[in-house]
Structure formats: structure tokens, C-alpha cells
Amino acid sequence: MFFLISTAIVLALAVLAHFLPGWMRPELYFAVRVDPEFRETEAGRRILLRYRLIVWAAAVAAIETELALRPEWVALYVFGFLVALIDAHRRTLPYAVPPATVSEVDLSAPAEKFPGGPIVMFFPIVLLSLLALWADHHFEQLPRQIPVHWGIHGADQFIERTHAGVAQYLGLCAGASLLFAFIAWGIFYWSRRVSTRGPASTTERRFRRRNAQMLLVVSWFMAVQAWITLARPNQAFLGPVVVLVAIVAILVTLIRYHQGPGDRAPDSCWKLGIIYYNPADPSMFIPKRFGIGYTFNFANRWTWIVFCAVLVPICVRVILK
């Protein structure tokens, strides 16, 4: 069973990586700004073929590693995918075209409103606060071991039923929920609009809105999952299943909606085609050049503040363990 599930995951990821270059904006090829016709040229096709060969080789290697019952299969696949992407990016760079230096903004464009406003953004925190009160009143009804992590074999990490343990769990859910809500807000208010006029602007707006909505759904899910885990522990396994279905639904929806037009940043700001570092850009979020959704501007100090706020507690916890 484990082998079937993990093989299905690797194959699904490989299929996704196989088709991903075709779903990207026509002016971008492996995160490099190129002539839209470049992908149809001999050089463009050769780069794509090489990328796909490396991706599938990584997938086969990952499946073989699984067969040997070694746990490195995920890391192996991710490594292979990154090698394929970086290699394709490097090979595309000589065909890059210079970025447009003219920026235009339509001053009459109506202001965009965050979907649902602050009520939708902070409702999960209200829900978790209510859950904390409920858990305090029904402490004896809570399961002795509360599942907090699920793997392919089911729940694999638990916390003991103590006041500190429950508080820690709810705090973790609140933190994760706030993080997703913050990223949704950031995509809306802290990212650059590439197009402010015409159909390209409509596509960009729609994609941004859908992204923010998806992240808000994940933020709400954190609170709902906490309720199920504490109040209905027998059905807690439903959570991870819902997450898997949600991830697929999110991917399909975002692919269908299309990413907005490309950014105007120089190619040199996209390190290895994945990491965006542009000190001249005041935005914190920017649409990915390869992949679906948004990524951080690592030259923005707030990116590092958010990363530290998330990573430092995790590191402290790991060290203390």
C-alpha cells in the first residue's frame, strides 16, 4: 500500500513537472524572458527535452529508492527536479531578451478589495479561541493522545493531553492560520501589478484574487481541522484527505485561471530561476516565473522577518527536543 501511494505521488509530481513549462506565460521560458516564439525553435525544444529527461530520470530513481525501502526518495526526486530546472534555466539565459524599461499605471483603475475583508481573514482565530474555551470546559473528553501529523501510514505524531500540550497545539494552528492569511493579504496588497490595463490586467486580477481565496481557505481549514482533531478525534484522518483533495483542486483551478503577464524585473534578479532578489523592487510578493502562484522577494527585509518568525520557533523546538 505504502509503495503504491508513494509511487503515485512521484508519478503525479513527474507528470506535473513534465507539463509545467507549457503552462507558463509565453514570454517566459524556464524563468527567463525570451521571445514568445523561442519555445518553438530547435534550441527551445532541445532545452525542454533535456529538462524532461532529467525529471523522469529523477522519478525513476526515486521509485527505485522506494523499492529499496529507503526514505530518501522524496529528497531524491526534489533534487532531480531542481537540477532539471536550474540546468534548463542556465541553458535558456543566452537567449534572453532585455526587459521593458517603461512602466505604465492606469490611475483610474478601481482599487481592489481583499476578498471577504478582515472578518474573513481573522475568523479562524475567533474559531480557535472558541475551541480553546470549549477544550478547557471538556478537557476530560479530549483524546489522551492528540494526533498532530499524518503520513502515508496515518497519524505518526501525537501530543499528550495536557493543558500545555493543547495550548501549544492551538497556538501552532493559530500561527499557521495567520501565516496563510498574511500571505493572502500580502499577495493582494504587497505585490506589484504588472498590467493595469486591458485583458492582461483582468487575467492578473483574477489570478491574484483566486490565489488569495485559496490561501484563505487553507487558513480556515487550519481552524476547522483543529476542531475535528479535538472534538471528533475519530474523524481526524479526514483532514489530510481533504488537504490532498484541496491541493489538487487548487492546482487545477490556478492552472485554469492562468498566471498574469510576466514581471518586468531583470533576469539577473531571478537567482537560478527560482529565488527572486531585487532590492529595487519594494514588493514583497511576486508571481513565480516557473511554477504556479507567488513567491517572496528575498531583498525585502520583511521577507526575512516573516521567515525568522516562522523558522526560529521551529528550530528552537527541534533543538529542545
Binding site: 512602466s103 505604465e104 499605471v105 492606469d106 490611475l107 519594494p282
Partner: protein, 128 residues
């Protein structure tokens, strides 16, 4: 109603922003009561520093075109007509216009196309 800036131009971005917004204000495309985008929003969309946008808003506010409020941002206000332009000021603008025309020709535009552009500009001004 578009604000356009060229990041590679020799004219500073701040100057381009002030000039571009002033054209929209003089032409009546931006009317009293119109709200300008917040400083952060415009800075991110243009890919320039927040201070550049804030400074250009302040310059236009000092000229009497905008009112800047901490919460509501920059709003276009009715501007009192300034006193009749003085002769030396007119001379300065004449000098700048000649300079611009010379720059266009230096960049390869024909004399005819420069004249055409200036005529088109004069017609636009007359229409308002």
C-alpha cells in the same frame, strides 16, 4: 488615464512622475475630488521606491494640485489660478521647450516630426 515612466531615461523618475501627473491635472483628466493611488500601491506598481512617489505627491501638493491626508491618501483639489506668469518664467519654459525639441532631434527625430508633435500638443492645449 495612464502614468508612464521610463526607468532607463536620463530624466529622474521623480521628475517624470511629477511631470506626468501634472499633464493629467492640467488636461483635466484628473479632476478635483479624484483620489490618487496610495503611495505604497503606486510605488509597487511602478517598481520605484516609496519615497519617490511620496516626494512627487508632496511637490504637487505644494503646487496646490493635491491635498495629502494621512489616512485617505492624496486627493485632487480645485486649484486657484495662479497669478499671470512672469516674463522671466516664460523665458525659462521657452528655454526648456527648445531644449526638449533639440533633444528629440539629437535622438534621431526629424525636424518635421518634432514640429508635428509640438503642433499636436498645441492643439490638445487649445481643446481644453
Amino acid at each position: 488615464m495612464t502614468l508612464r515612466i521610463d526607468l532607463k531615461s536620463s530624466v529622474p523618475v521623480y521628475r517624470q512622475m511629477v511631470d506626468g501627473l501634472r499633464v493629467l491635472l492640467v488636461n483635466g483628466e484628473l479632476k478635483p475630488g479624484d483620489q490618487l493611488p496610495p503611495v505604497r500601491r503606486l510605488a509597487m506598481d511602478l517598481g520605484v521606491h516609496f519615497n519617490t512617489v511620496a516626494e512627487s505627491y508632496r511637490t504637487l501638493a505644494n503646487e496646490g494640485w493635491l491635498e495629502i491626508a494621512r489616512r485617505s491618501g492624496a486627493k485632487v483639489i480645485a486649484r486657484k489660478a495662479p497669478k499671470r506668469g512672469q516674463a522671466e518664467v516664460a523665458e525659462t519654459f521657452d528655454h526648456r521647450l527648445r531644449g526638449l525639441a533639440a533633444e528629440m532631434m539629437a535622438r534621431g527625430f526629424s525636424r518635421e516630426s518634432v514640429v508635428r508633435e509640438l503642433r499636436r500638443l498645441a492643439e490638445t492645449l487649445e481643446a481644453h
